[in-house]
C-alpha cells in the first residue's frame, strides 16, 4: 500500500478541540453568537477537511493517508506514536461523524436555544467530536483507546448535562462505569496484542495476523477481549444496561452519541481489526451470537416501552446487534453499511423525537400523545420516512443494509446459518412492528394530550426541521451508495456458501414481506385506539411485566455484583480488616506498652527495702550467671 503523508488529519482532529477550548474557556463571556459560530463552524470545517481527504483517496488518489503527529512515549525499542490513518473505512466513519455531527450541531442551536448552559453544551459536543475523530482516525490502538475513553467521558458529561437532577447524573456515571468495565477488557486485549505482536498500530497488527507465521497467541482470545470492550461501547449484552438510561441527556446528544456515532465505535473497532477476526472463528461466532441475542431481546423490550426515547434507545441497541451479527458472520462491509444507514435514520428519528418533545414542551410518554401528524407535519413526515427506513421498507436506506445482513446471516461462508437467519428475520419483524407502533401512537389516532399541552404544541424552528429534512433525505437515498462494494478492498465480503446463491431473491422478498408485516401488525393493533394491544397485554401479564422490567438485568447486576462488592468492602475490608485486624493489633500493642509501664511504675513503690532487695537479687543473679559454668 502506498501511504501518503499529510497533516490534514491532525487538523481535522484538532478543529473540534479548538472549539471545545474556545467555548469552554471563553464561551460564557463572548455570548451565544460566538458560541454558535465556533460550535457549529469548526465541525463543519472539519467535515470539509474530511471531504478533502476523502477526495484524495479513491481510485485516482492514494490508497491511504498517514499522519504521524508525534511520539507519545518511547523507551528502548518500545515506542508509541500518536499517528492518524485514513483509509476508506476511516473515511466513511469520519464523514459520518463530521457530517451527522455538524447537522446535529446545527439542530442543537435551535433545540438548546434557551438553555442557560448553552456554551457548556457546545463545548462538550465539540469535545465529543474531537475524541470521536481520534477514535476513527487513530492509527494505533492506543490513539483509538484515547478516543474510546474520551467519547465515554463526553457522553458522561452530556448525559449528566442537567446535573441538578441526580437521576441524570447517576445515568452518566452508570454509562461511564459500564464502559470502563468494557475498557478493562479492551486494555487486556491491547496488552496481549502488544506483548505478542510488539506494536499497537492496527494496520501492522492486521498484517501480522494475516502473515505466517501468525503471532504466538490465539486470535480468538484477543478478539474476544477486544469485543468485550466493544460490548461496553456499543451496548451489547451483557453491558447494554447503560444505553437506555443514557437517554437522560439532551435529545440531540442521544441522536449524535447514542445513536449515530459513539455507540457504533464497537462496530468500527471489530471491522477495523478484521484481520484478527478473520482468523478467529470462535470469536466471530461469539460476536454473531451476542449480537443477534442483543438485537432480539432489545427488540422485544422496545415493543412495550412507552417513553419515545426509550423505544428508540432499545431500537438502537437492537440495530447495533444487527451490525454485530454481520460482523460475526464476517460481513464487515455489511455491518459498516448498516452503521452508515443507521446513522442517518436513527439520527433522524431521535431528532424527530426531539422535535416532538420540543413541541410537547418536554413530554416524552407516547401514551400522552397521538394525532400529532397534522400539528407538526414536517416532523411527522421526516419521522415517518426514517421509521420506514429502519423498518426496512424499500427503497429506503435501511432496507438495503438490513437485507445485506439478513442475507449474510443465512449465506455467509463464515458461519452463516438458517438459525441466525430465522432469529434475524423475527427481530426484523419486531423492529418494523415496534417502530410503526411508535409512529402510530405518536402521530395518529385521537390526541391523548391534556388541553394546555395541546394548546402549546407547535412546529420546531427551521434550524431543527431543516436538519430533519436533510437527514430524511439521506435516509431515503443513502442506501443506493453501496458501502460494502466501496469497502471491498479493506473489508472483502465473505464468500457465499455454495448452493445458497439462488436464495438471494427469496431473502430480499422475505425482508420486504417482514417489513410490511410489521407495518400491518402495528396498524392492526394500534389503528383503533390500541384496544387490541390492550387485550394482548392482559392476555400475557407476566410476559408484559418481564418486558417492561427489561428482563430485570439491572436488578440482577445490583443484587449480584453491586451489593456484594459494597458488603465486602464495608464489612470485610473496612470493619474487619482495617478496624479490627490492623488497627486492632496496633492498639493492642499500644495497650500492652501502657500496661507494662503501669506495672513498672507499681514496682517503683518507693520502699527502700524493695530497692535493696532488687540489688540483692541482682547481685546474686549476676554472680550465678557468671559462675554457673565454673
Amino acid at each position: 500500500m502506498n501511504a501518503a503523508p499529510t497533516n490534514l488529519l491532525t487538523a481535522i482532529v484538532l478543529l473540534p478541540l479548538a472549539g471545545f477550548l474556545l467555548n469552554g474557556l471563553l464561551g460564557n463571556r463572548l455570548g451565544k453568537g460566538f458560541v454558535t459560530m465556533v460550535g457549529c463552524g469548526l465541525p463543519i470545517a472539519a467535515f470539509a477537511l474530511a471531504v478533502k481527504c476523502f477526495l484524495d483517496l479513491g481510485p485516482g488518489g492514494n490508497l491511504l493517508l498517514i499522519d504521524i503527529a508525534y511520539t507519545w512515549f518511547s523507551a528502548g525499542k518500545e515506542s508509541f506514536e500518536i499517528a492518524f490513518y485514513f483509509d476508506r473505512l476511516s473515511a466513511v466513519m469520519a464523514l459520518i461523524v463530521t457530517g451527522v455531527g455538524s447537522l446535529i450541531h446545527v439542530y442543537s442551536t435551535g433545540y438548546m436555544k434557551d438553555d442557560r448552559s448553552y456554551a457548556r453544551y457546545f463545548a462538550y459536543l465539540n469535545l465529543f467530536l474531537f475524541f470521536m475523530l481520534m477514535l476513527v482516525l487513530g492509527r494505533s490502538l492506543l490513539v483509538l483507546f484515547v478516543g474510546w475513553e474520551g467519547v465515554g467521558l463526553a457522553s458522561y458529561l452530556l448525559i449528566g448535562f442537567w446535573f441538578e437532577d441526580p437521576e441524570k447524573a447517576a445515568a452518566g456515571k452508570k454509562a461511564f462505569i459500564t464502559n470502563r468495565i468494557g475498557d478493562a477488557g479492551f486494555l487486556l486485549g491491547m496488552f496481549l496484542i502488544y506483548t505478542t505482536v510488539g506494536t499497537l498500530d492496527m494496520d501492522r497488527i492486521n498484517a501480522a495476523f494475516m502473515a505466517t507465521p501468525a503471532p504466538m497467541v490465539s486470535a480468538s482470545l484477543v478478539g474476544i477481549l477486544l469485543f468485550f470492550g466493544a460490548c461496553g461501547k456499543s451496548a451489547q449484552i451483557p453491558l447494554h444496561v447503560w444505553l437506555p438510561d443514557a437517554m437522560a441527556g439532551p435529545t440531540p446528544v442521544s441522536a449524535l452519541i447514542h445513536a449515530a456515532t459513539m455507540v457504533t465505535a464497537g462496530v468500527y473497532l471489530v471491522a477495523r481489526m478484521s484481520g484478527i477476526y478473520l482468523h478467529a472463528p470462535e470469536a466471530s461466532a461469539v460476536i454473531a451470537a451476542v449480537g443477534l441475542a442483543t438485537a432480539f431481546f432489545a427488540a422485544t423490550i422496545a415493543v412495550v416501552q412507552t417513553d419515545i426515547k426509550k423505544v428508540l434507545a432499545y431500537s438502537t441497541i437492537s440495530q447495533l446487534g444487527f451490525m454485530f451479527l454481520a460482523l460475526g458472520v464476517g460481513a464487515y462491509g455489511a455491518a459498516v453499511f448498516h452503521l452508515y444507514t443507521h446513522a442517518f435514520f436513527k439520527a433522524c428519528l431521535f431528532l424527530g423525537a426531539g422535535s416532538v418533545i420540543h413541541a410537547m414542551s418536554g413530554e416524552q410518554d407516547i401514551r400522552k400523545m397521538g394525532g400529532l401528524a397534522k400539528k407538526i407535519p414536517v416532523t411527522f413526515w421526516t419521522f415517518a420516512i426514517a421509521t420506514a427506513a429502519i423498518a426496512g421498507i424499500p427503497p429506503l436506506a435501511g432496507f438495503f443494509s438490513k437485507d445485506e445482513i439478513v442475507w449474510f446471516a443465512l449465506a455467509s461462508g463464515r458461519g452463516g446459518s438458517a438459525l441466525l437467519f430465522a432469529v434475524a428475520a423475527v427481530t426484523a419483524l419486531l423492529t418494523s412492528f415496534y417502530m410503526f407502533r411508535l409512529l402510530w401512537l405518536t402521530f395518529f389516532g385521537a390526541s391523548r394530550m391534556t388541553k394546555e399541552a395541546e394548546h402549546h404544541v407547535h412546529e420546531s424552528p427551521p434550524s431543527m426541521t431543516g436538519v430533519l429534512v436533510v437527514l430524511a433525505g439521506l435516509s431515503t437515498v443513502g442506501g443506493f451508495l453501496s458501502i460494502p462494494h466501496f469497502l471491498e478492498r479493506e473489508l472483502p465480503l465473505p464468500a457465499v456458501k455454495e448452493g445458497f446463491e439462488h436464495y438471494e431473491h427469496f431473502v430480499v422478498a422475505a425482508s420486504i414481506a417482514i417489513a410490511l408485516a410489521g407495518l400491518a401488525g402495528a396498524a392492526w393493533f394500534f389503528g383503533s385506539g390500541a384496544a387490541r394491544a390492550e387485550r394482548v397485554r392482559l392476555a400475557f401479564p407476566t410476559l408484559h411485566r418481564v418486558l417492561l422490567g427489561k428482563y430485570y438485568v439491572d436488578e440482577a447486576y445490583q443484587a449480584w455484583i453491586g451489593k456484594p462488592l459494597l458488603w465486602i468492602s464495608e464489612r470485610v475490608f473496612l470493619r474487619f480488616g482495617d478496624q479490627r485486624l490492623f488497627d486492632g493489633t496496633l492498639h493492642a500493642l499500644a495497650a500492652l506498652g501502657r500496661g507494662t509501664a503501669a506495672v513498672l511504675g507499681r514496682i517503683q513503690t518507693g520502699s527502700l527495702h524493695l530497692y535493696a532487695f532488687l540489688v540483692l537479687s541482682g547481685i546474686a543473679t549476676a554472680l550465678w550467671w557468671s559462675l554457673r559454668h565454673v
Binding site: 512515549f73 523507551a75 518500545e78
Partner: protein
C-alpha cells in the same frame, strides 16, 4: 555559579528561608507568608533550570557534590541528580509554592512556626531525594518525621494527636529496623572489601554479594520501612488517619511527596541493593501491591469522608507503582516513575481542592454536600479534571502511569504463563480491574459532591479566587503535559530505569524475568554505569 553549587542551593534554600523567617517578627504574618512563598518559587525556578540542564544521555550522577563529612566512617556529603530523583525533586519543588500558597488563608495560628516547618520538611524531602550516601539519606529520611509530626499535631483536626503519633511511631518503627539493616550492610561491606563507605554505588556491590538469606532479611528490614511509607497493605492504617487529621498543606505534602519516598526508596535502595532477594520476593511484593490496589479502591468506595476517599485512593494508586517496580521491564519501571509523579500531582491537587471546600464549609462529610457544580462552577471544572486524572483517563498523567505499569505487568506476566507460572499474569489482570474500581469511587465522589440538588453548609459562598485558580491551573497544566507529552521527562529517567532493571535482574535467580526484561531492554545490557 556552577550547576553543582546551584543544586546545593536548591537543597539549602529552605534552610536559608527559615533563617530569614527567624528575623521576621511573629506579628508580620503576611511578610512571613510572602517570604516563604518566594523562597519556594525561587527553589522551583532553580529546579526547572537544573532540569533543563539535566543531560538525559549521561548515566552518571549530575551536578554532584562530594565532601567528606564523617571521615573515619566513610560518610560523605554526597548529593546529585540522576534519573531516579530528577523528576521527584522537580515535583517536590513544584508542589512547594502551591502548598505555601494554599495555606495563606487556611493557617492562622502560629503562622511563623507553620511556615518554618513547611520549609523544614521541604528541605528534608529534597534532601532525601538528592542524597547519594546512605547515611545522609537516612538522616533526611528520619528528620522528615519531626516537621510532619508538628504539622499534623499542631494544625490538625480533632484527633490530630492520635493521628500524628500513629504516623510517627508507625514510620519510626520501620526506620529503626532499616537503621539496623543499613549498619549491617555497611559493616559487611567493610568486612568483605575493606572499604568503609555509605555511597549507594559501593553498597550496590556489597548487597549483591551477600548470601541470599541475609539479603532476604535485610530487604525485609529496608522494605518494611519503605512499605510503611508507601504505604502497602497491611501497613497502611496510619495513612487515612494522618490524611484526615492533617491540615490541607500537610495532606498535600504527605500525598504529594512523602508517600513517594517509600516507592523511591524501593527503587533506589531496597530492590537494587538486594537483587537476589528481590527476585525471590518479587511475587510476594507484587501480590501485596495488587492487594493494595484493590483493597484501597474497595475501601475508598465505602468512605463518607472526602479526605479518606482520596487517602485510600492513594493507597490504591501507589499499588500501581509497586507493581510497576516489580515487573523489572522498562515499561513497568518507567510507568512506575510516571505514576509516582502523576499521583503526586493528582492526589496533591485533590487534597488542595478538599481543603478549599473545607475552608468554606468546615466539614469533610460527603453527606453534607451536593450540587456544588451550580454554586462553584470553576471549582467543579477543576475537580472533575483532577477526578478524571485520578481515574487515569487518557490525555492525563494518570493514564500514562497506569497504562505503562499495567502494560509492563502484563508483558512481564505473559511469558511466564508459558513457563507455567500464572501468578504474574493473574496479578496484572486483577490490577486492571483496579481501573474500574477507581472510576467507581472517584465518580461516586464527584457525583455526590458536585451533582444533584445543590446542598452545602454555610452557603452561599464565593467560587475560587484568583490564588486558588492559579494553584489548580498550575497542577492541571502539569497533569495534561505529562499525559500528552510524557516522552521528554521519561527520557530523563530512562537510563535510571535501565540501571535499576540491570541491577535487579542481573542476578541469575529468575530466568524468565531476566530474559524478558532483556528482550524489552533492547539488548544492550551494559549501558549506563550509575552513579559515580
Amino acid at each position: 555559579m556552577s550547576d553543582a553549587s546551584l543544586l546545593n542551593l536548591v537543597l539549602f534554600l529552605p534552610v536559608i528561608g527559615m533563617a530569614l523567617l527567624l528575623r521576621v517578627p511573629t506579628s508580620r504574618e503576611d511578610m512571613i507568608r510572602g517570604l516563604t512563598f518566594w523562597v519556594m518559587v525561587v527553589q522551583f525556578a532553580l529546579c526547572v533550570w537544573l532540569y533543563t540542564r539535566f543531560d538525559a544521555a549521561d548515566p552518571g550522577l549530575q551536578f554532584a557534590t562530594r565532601l567528606p563529612w564523617i571521615a573515619d566512617w566513610g560518610v560523605y556529603y554526597l548529593i546529585g541528580l540522576d534519573g531516579y530523583n530528577v523528576l521527584l525533586v522537580l515535583l517536590t519543588a513544584f508542589l512547594g509554592p502551591l502548598v505555601v500558597a494554599s495555606a495563606f488563608t487556611a493557617v492562622t495560628r502560629d503562622v511563623k512556626l507553620f511556615y518554618s516547618m513547611v520549609l523544614l520538611i521541604q528541605f528534608t524531602m529534597v534532601g532525601t531525594f538528592l542524597a547519594q550516601d546512605l547515611f545522609l539519606f537516612y538522616l533526611f529520611w528520619e528528620a522528615m518525621l519531626i516537621p510532619m509530626f508538628l504539622i499534623i499535631g499542631i494544625w490538625g483536626g480533632e484527633r490530630r494527636i492520635y493521628a500524628t503519633l500513629k504516623f510517627v511511631l508507625y514510620t519510626a518503627f520501620g526506620s529503626i529496623l532499616m537503621l539496623a539493616a543499613l549498619i549491617y550492610l555497611v559493616v559487611s561491606l567493610q568486612a568483605s572489601s575493606g572499604i568503609t563507605s555509605f555511597a549507594f554505588a559501593d553498597l550496590y556491590r556489597a548487597g549483591a554479594e551477600l548470601p541470599l538469606d541475609v539479603q532476604v532479611i535485610l530487604l525485609a528490614a529496608f522494605g518494611l520501612s519503605f512499605a510503611i511509607k508507601v504505604p502497602m497493605v497491611p501497613l497502611h492504617t496510619w495513612l487515612p488517619d494522618a490524611h484526615v487529621e492533617a491540615p490541607t498543606a500537610g495532606s498535600v505534602i504527605l500525598a504529594g511527596v512523602l508517600l513517594k519516598m517509600g516507592t523511591y526508596g524501593f527503587m533506589k535502595l531496597g530492590f537494587p541493593l538486594f537483587p537476589q532477594a528481590t527476585q525471590l520476593l518479587a511475587p510476594v511484593i507484587a501480590t501485596l501491591a495488587v492487594i493494595s490496589i484493590v483493597y484501597g479502591a474497595c475501601l475508598a468506595l465505602v468512605q463518607t469522608d472526602i479526605k479518606k476517599i482520596i487517602a485510600y485512593s492513594s493507597i490504591s494508586h501507589l499499588g500501581y507503582v509497586m507493581l510497576g517496580l516489580t515487573t523489572f521491564n522498562l515499561l513497568g519501571i518507567q510507568g512506575a516513575v510516571m505514576q509516582m509523579v502523576s499521583h503526586g500531582l493528582v492526589a496533591g491537587g485533590l487534597f488542595l481542592m478538599v481543603g478549599m471546600v473545607y475552608e468554606r464549609c468546615h466539614t469533610r462529610d460527603l453527606a453534607a454536600y451536593g450540587g456544588l457544580a451550580r454554586i462553584l462552577p470553576v471549582y467543579s471544572v477543576f475537580f472533575v479534571i483532577l477526578t478524571l486524572a485520578s481515574i487515569g483517563l487518557p490525555t492525563t498523567s494518570g493514564f500514562t502511569g497506569e497504562f505503562l505499569v499495567l502494560l509492563g505487568a502484563f508483558a512481564a506476566g505473559w511469558p511466564q504463563l508459558g513457563q507455567g507460572d500464572a501468578l504474574p499474569l493473574t496479578l496484572a489482570v486483577v490490577a486492571v480491574s483496579g481501573v474500574v474500581l477507581g472510576a467507581l469511587y472517584m465518580l461516586w465522589l464527584a457525583q455526590r459532591l458536585l451533582f444533584g440538588a445543590t446542598r452545602a453548609p454555610h452557603q452561599p459562598f464565593a467560587d475560587l479566587n484568583g490564588r486558588e485558580r492559579a494553584i489548580l491551573a498550575a497542577i492541571v497544566v502539569a497533569v495534561f503535559a505529562l499525559g500528552l507529552f510524557p516522552n521528554e521527562p521519561m527520557h530523563k529517567t530512562e537510563l535510571a530505569a535501565r540501571h535499576y532493571q540491570r541491577l535487579v535482574t542481573a542476578a541469575p535467580a529468575k530466568a524468565p524475568m531476566a530474559a524478558l526484561s532483556h528482550s524489552h531492554e533492547g539488548g544492550n545490557p551494559d549501558e549506563g554505569t550509575f552513579p559515580r
